[in-house]
Symmetry: none
Subunit: 103 residues, 2 copies
């Protein structure tokens, strides 16, 4: 099963490491505990909407861009792990969101 918080954690860690920043730096900027951020990055803890927003702000990435990237990762994992589900015509597809995902 694909667990959303693990994909979110992977993306947050990748962003932080791409910026060459430590857990301590980002947790300080986001005003969350180092242990909490570490647990979130490892997919062990669900980030609340407020704390996820704070972490995104600390990483200078919009929440919408983070979720677009998470959506893309999930779509790839879904292709590998599950049969296709119905795709609603009026919903934005993961493909479309990939076009404006993190770059």
């Amino acid at each position: 099963m694909i667990v959303m918080r693990e994909v979110i954690g992977d993306q947050l860690r990748r962003l932080r490491q791409d910026q060459g920043r430590t857990l301590r730096e980002v947790s300080g900027a986001a005003a969350v505990s180092l242990g909490y951020l570490s647990e979130v990055e490892r997919g062990h803890k669900e980030a609340s909407s407020e704390l996820l927003a704070a972490i995104c702000e600390a990483l200078d990435v919009s929440l919408s861009d983070l979720l677009a990237s998470v959506s893309t990762q999930l779509a790839q994992a879904e292709l590998q792990h599950t049969a296709p589900t119905t795709r609603l015509p009026d919903m934005v597809t993961a493909e479309a969101s990939a076009a404006r995902s993190l770059s």
Copy 2:
């Protein structure tokens, strides 16, 4: 502030209502309590990754598509909430505004 769980809740409710289904039907299909689903839809409760996946499955929508849609909604909200606070050089000057002062 834009709260992710409220955007997720809105999207889940819209999907359910578009399918003409009741809270009872979807909560039963997702094996979550009716009260929990109602709280999630209203943005009062954070859905855990596992329960969000179960709700998506009950609604026959992929988690990636849901998040893509949430990302799009958040991006629109971010644009509205980040109206410029600084005054750029090409904005109305004191002189110009004086010209349309009380007359």
